[in-house]
Amino acid sequence: MFENLQDRLSGVFDKLTGRGALSEKDVDEALREVRRALLEADVALPVARAFVEKVRTRAVGHEVLKSVTPGQQVVKIVHDALVDTLGAEAAEISLNAPAPVAIMMVGLQGSGKTTSTAKIAKRLMKREKRKVLMASLDTRRPAAQEQLKVLGEQNDIPTLAIVEGQEPVAIARRAMEAGRLGGYDVVLLDSAGRLHVDEALMAEITQVRDLAHPHETLLVADSLTGQDAVNVAEQFQSRIGLTGIVLTRTDGDGRGGAALSMRHVTGVPIKLLGTGEKIDELEDFDPRRIAGRILGQGDVVSLVEKAAETIDAEKAERMARKMKKGQFDLDDLAEQLQQMGKMGGMAGVLGMLPGMGKIKKQLGQAQLDDSIFKRQAAIISSMTKQERRNPKVLNASRKKRVAAGSGTSVPEINRLLKMHRQMADMMKQMGKKGMKGLFGGMGGGMGGLMGGGMPEMPSDPKEAERLLQQMGGSGGLPPGLGSNSIAGGGLPGLGGPGGLPGLPSGRGKKK
């Protein structure tokens, strides 16, 4: 639903090409778009204002390099400024204090404190080899203490025994005591969710702080938070004093502007990112990723990581060898469909690609959803080995049989075969050209998955549009699709939308 900043700016700067430097007026116009983009990403208004001023001073009079458009130039300046503001250097959880080191977790209700507590405990145990004790101070929400206890049991992390009716301050005292007596290195205190405006609860947590003297006080905050993120962070900072922020639910599709707001007003580093529901889904903060997201540039780093995680290296290599020879049969196609599913389906993959937000939406409208992949996989699995290896043998009666077997229809099979043929052709071409680009090194799994035959992002928008139409016929190309990614020429080889497998051509048009 959001246009990315690059697309917007290219509109503003289209008329400017060929000039030497950005004038103040050009910059003004561009910065209005920057401001809009930031606000849409939930960056708080005062923070967006301050940030835009920072960008202005950097941008005025900036030389426009010959190779890039002014739009890209501004995006790069904004991107770099974002990275600076978010904190370029990594800050880890510090345990540099006499044991037991207390770490206190605070935040609003439902921000993810308990889950984050367990994740951090596990991380400290595994990576730092520390002896960790967890204690829940949440006496308010029903079964909150139970939740931490269960997480402890599931992951072999010791938790403080629950004593019914004990108040948070008393629990904290008992936890620190148990930490000392038990020879623990770290005691994690998971506090109850509280509103930053709740005086009584804020006073209570201050008492806990004065008793436990936490070496780290971490604000656990939802990355989907809106404009109020500034107030939340400011209040927690001024009332309790924070040493870091844990940003949760970064695996959602939010733009994460809250991260910038909170970092800006508190000045404390964002230390960790929660990236999923599982206990090990906790990552070091990477400002570039968040900056890219805020700008709607997609999360290419995550995509690459995810691809590396899910794609079986051996399989990929086999695929690459086959492609070189120009062989690409239906078994290979089936495998690609499966990979796609593993990476979160088409929406998942597209969502992470820069500038693809709009296409993703169009796909949704054209009802090109992931169920198509499943149907196609079903078609292929209803074929005999021979048919899969050599689709040419599929005559009318065989097709009827396959249709009946897979619960689909003959036209659907024809569409699949046509798509396969096109993909196989592209593979052949690519086999000749050799694989350049980012995914070349990954042995082709990714190249095949993403683009099939698209070693480089099409630089001509018309070309991209043609490919899009080929892909689903959803038409209406978002502006600037063909332009390169930001920051140093972007990533070659991220296959255009052209070859996404599994998109029967024509279906979108019928709608």
Binding site: R36, L45, E146, Q147, L195, G226, D253, R255, G257, A347
Partner: protein, 318 residues
């Protein structure tokens, strides 16, 4: 709140509005003071309207909705001196106009037995707590209530709902942790039918709307419910956290498609200085808003009233 037994109409209404106003105090302050800051002794012009628009953006109203409302406020009033009080009034009216179509009380159709309510949302939005509170309200109205503990993923989510069940005397249908939520819903419907329960509230695990696998699971829960009762779920509700920013729009969009949403519940409105996201959602989707949460108490989960809400957040006096 004991007085509403003796005089059910007026005092209750008043105290509910007061509760909401207190809960929304911060929103009120932010918008109301902002308006004073902008319009005191100044003419309404492009500049002041831009500032008003900014103010609305800061209330999470979203760029488009903020621009639309600011424009409506400015219409026909350019270059006139308009007092902050008047602006608050106009603003309240404009916001109420956007919200009025989505004001729809949470109602149970007693001809449907059990009346099945499915509750969905992203992690931490307050689903389980909301279910507990709705259950308590229904119980107080004399209805029989059953809970289905469909959040089989989060540690102790089942326990949390069981505590609510004990508190209000409602049976809880549960399965083991990691169990099949769709199967549980199926079983719960059968049990509610057998026991002649009035209302069955089905909890679900929190899920981010961009997780294809989890959304497919939710789709299955809905499918299975429909197998037992083609008309069910009679209400399919999304619980939204009011502190959420513009991502709430994505959430509604995807859950609407997956779970066939019939309405929204917005929680944690008391903590935020915002609440504008509700206006953005109303303008965009027009989905009924049944209940809003303005505090932690059971009575803080209230029926949504567009006019009162608009007055409360703008600080309009009348």
């Amino acid at each position: 709140m004991s007085e509403h037994e003796t005089n059910p109409e007026k005092p209750e209404k008043k105290s509910l509005f007061k509760r909401m106003k207190e809960g929304l105090q911060r929103s009120t302050q932010a918008l109301s003071e902002g308006v004073s800051g902008i319009f005191t002794k100044r003419k309404l012009d492009g500049e002041t309207l831009q500032e008003l628009e900014d103010l609305l953006i800061m209330a999470d109203m979203g760029l488009d909705q903020a621009a639309a409302i600011a424009e409506a406020v400015g219409k026909g009033r350019y270059n006139k001196e308009v007092s902050p009080e008047e602006i608050r009034e106009i603003l309240a009216e404009e916001i109420a106009a956007v919200l009025a179509p989505v004001e729809k009380p949470f109602e149970i159709d007693s001809s449907k037995k059990p009346f099945i309510v499915l509750v969905t949302g992203v992690n931490g939005s307050g689903k389980t707590t909301t279910i507990g509170k709705i259950g308590a309200k229904l119980k107080a109205e004399g209805k029989s209530v059953m809970f289905a503990a469909g959040d089989t993923f989060r540690a102790a989510a089942i326990d949390q709902l069981k505590i609510w069940g004990e508190r209000i005397g409602a049976p809880v249908v549960e399965t083991k942790v990691g169990g099949d939520a769709a199967g549980l819903a199926f079983e719960a419907i059968d049990r509610a039918k057998a026991e002649g329960t009035d209302v069955l509230l089905i909890d679900t695990a929190g899920r981010l709307q961009n997780k294809a696998g989890l959304m497919a699971e939710l789709e299955k829960v809905v499918r299975v419910i429909k197998k037992r009762d083609p008309e069910a779920p009679h209400l399919s509700l999304l619980v939204l956290d009011a502190t959420t920013g513009q991502n709430a729009i994505n959430q509604v969009e995807v859950f609407k498609e997956t779970a066939g949403l019939t309405g929204l519940i917005m929680t944690k409105l008391d903590g935020t200085a915002r609440g504008g996201i509700l206006v953005a959602l109303a303008g965009r989707f027009g989905l009924p808003v049944h209940l809003i949460g303005v505090g932690e108490g059971i009575d803080d989960l209230q029926s949504f009233n567009a006019k009162n809400f608009a007055r409360a957040i703008t600080g309009a006096q009348k």
